[in-house]
Point group: none
Chain length 203, copies 4
């Protein structure tokens, strides 16, 4: 993190500026990709001169890194929501339709794919992704454990690993599935997800 931030005299304004750039970057990155988006494009979207961006970020790579860091937490957000429920697994199953619909929107699935592709070549991005994944799966693990205890199911390590890895793999597949088959039978997929969730986590 220290490598992607710069010390500035008016911290709160600087943070706002950084956010402004990142918001603009979101627009440009999802439209043109990390490498297709130019600093000029970003600066225009940010309503700020290209040169000025360099007062807040060390360069384009730093913007990408900061952007990824900010966008990588999405799964965690879902976890926090689920954590509210008494039976988080049941909540997941109940939310399945909503989740699928959300993932079929191009403006939802484009950025994860872009980020993944970048991560597969850029170790810094990969690290950010993996760090976020640790946090996500740790949170998820707790929720699954709670649910399984509620259902009086075993909660040994391997079983929890099984639930966590399999389920997250599933969610990770949705953006790719949407890309390959934009008009898929949504109802069928929702039904299939529910079956899988139940079988994996409550079976």
């Amino acid at each position: 993190m220290s490598s992607t931030e710069k010390r500035l005299s008016a911290p709160e304004k600087a943070a706002a500026r950084r956010a402004q750039v990142l918001a603009a970057a979101a627009e440009c990155f999802s439209r043109s990709g990390f490498h297709g988006a130019s600093m000029a494009e970003i600066s225009k979207a940010a309503g700020m001169s290209a040169g000025h961006i360099y007062n807040y970020f060390d360069g384009k790579d730093a913007i990408i890194e900061a952007f990824v860091a900010a966008n990588v937490e999405r799964v965690s957000a879902i976890m926090r929501d689920l954590a509210q429920h008494k039976d988080p697994v049941q909540a997941m199953i109940d939310n399945a339709e909503e989740t699928v619909v959300e993932h079929l929107q191009p403006n939802f699935y484009v950025m994860p794919l872009e980020i993944a592709a970048e991560a597969s070549r850029n170790p810094k991005i990969a690290q950010a992704l993996q760090a976020a994944d640790i946090s996500s799966r740790t949170q998820f693990r707790v929720l699954v454990q709670r649910a399984r205890e509620l259902h009086q199911l075993p909660v040994d390590d391997d079983t929890l690993d099984l639930c966590v890895e399999t389920m997250i793999a599933f969610f990770h597949g949705l953006p790719m599935r949407a890309l390959h088959h934009p008009n898929l039978n949504q109802a069928a997929l929702v039904k299939g997800m529910r079956i899988a969730m139940r079988a994996i986590m409550l079976g």
Copy 2:
């Protein structure tokens, strides 16, 4: 086809050259990405001058397209293998470990991610992906139907959609999962996949 190929008089040599370029491109693309790889890099890897490549491909985009076309059929190959078995679903379940291990190799999962990211911005690539997907899921559908008939399970359209979409989504998630958690508990994931397969396709 006509847009990504060029007619040359010595067909077999020309085809060899094209293959040579595509092989070099594979190396460079997976190392640097479609946009990060320069024609100079590719030409060096192909052992041929940059200019000469243009005798075989209309430009970098044509190389990417041809490369994607050649790499997009992998799922189909898996389908063909499965089609050999009397009970293809059981064969999938039996092969689960092998499949997972394969997908955990970086040199396996990098290109699908790169291709997906490109497809999310490049309509031509998206079309290639979607066309390949039609063929894959049609093949897969047939296999699932055969297996379900064998097991005397219903084979209505929605049910087959459910099996096909959910299972493919699952497989699509593996590369992303591998990227996010390279050292995941492989045995647990295999076990989870088997549970999911059985529940979805044979439940």
Copy 3:
């Protein structure tokens, strides 16, 4: 206009830069031709980096177009001068020597030839040339009419066409003549032109 100009915030400086580029282009174009002159050559002559030129012009074609637009008005300037005289045709005849001498200078006749050659292949340039010609011959027509009325000669359309087209053809021939015979008998040509002018316009 909009296609050959770019809006920049400091208008007067931008205009100066554009002029600087066009001046450099004049040098390079007349030395190497439109296609022989490279952007690197132009940028060096303009004392500015090649990349920077693209902040003022959309590309080399835009420079050529702007350059042609700026150079195509020369005939109009002559017309404006002639318009000052009470008897413009007599003024032309009086100026004949000066006109011929001017057209014999290589740095006068090179660019019109280059422009003409370009126009014969490039529709945009052809259009610019033809638009300028409309204006030139309209102005010239008025002058001839005034002179003929002064001399109490008929001013019907065909006669005015005759004067305008024939005389301009004559002037257009001078650069080519100079190119084919650089050391021609200048005095004889001047005398010939005067005879032709009188016969055509005042006959």
Copy 4:
């Protein structure tokens, strides 16, 4: 000349090949200009491999030179025709319409303009043009002299220079005029030319 030809063992076939290339070049040059036409384009038009052309010409420049040499004689051809007539000047005046019509065809006027532009930058081409001009004007001079003697008009050097230079300048202007005003009043121009011819050569 010796620099644009190559000694080959079967002279007559070689000459045919050279002619074949030059004919192809005519097509390509008038379509794309000297610099816009590629060797590939020419070789295709000539029905011969690009490499093979180098057996007959030292390079593209040599083709251009040879092409210009072959195309520069057009005025001379007109002279030869005129020489047939007892009163060549009267023949010119009679032919005026035909001459104008011919010069208004784009495929007539394009090449002279291209050649002139090239000559203004390439000394070799300029020399070819000027050499051809010497021959043209010498022939023309003889014809004018004959006609003037027929009409019992003075034939001193300056007067003949006047006739020759002024008239040729006129003809040189026609292609440029056609380019600037493709739909000009042809009849008026013909009439104007006749007036000018009579005034200059028979006045």
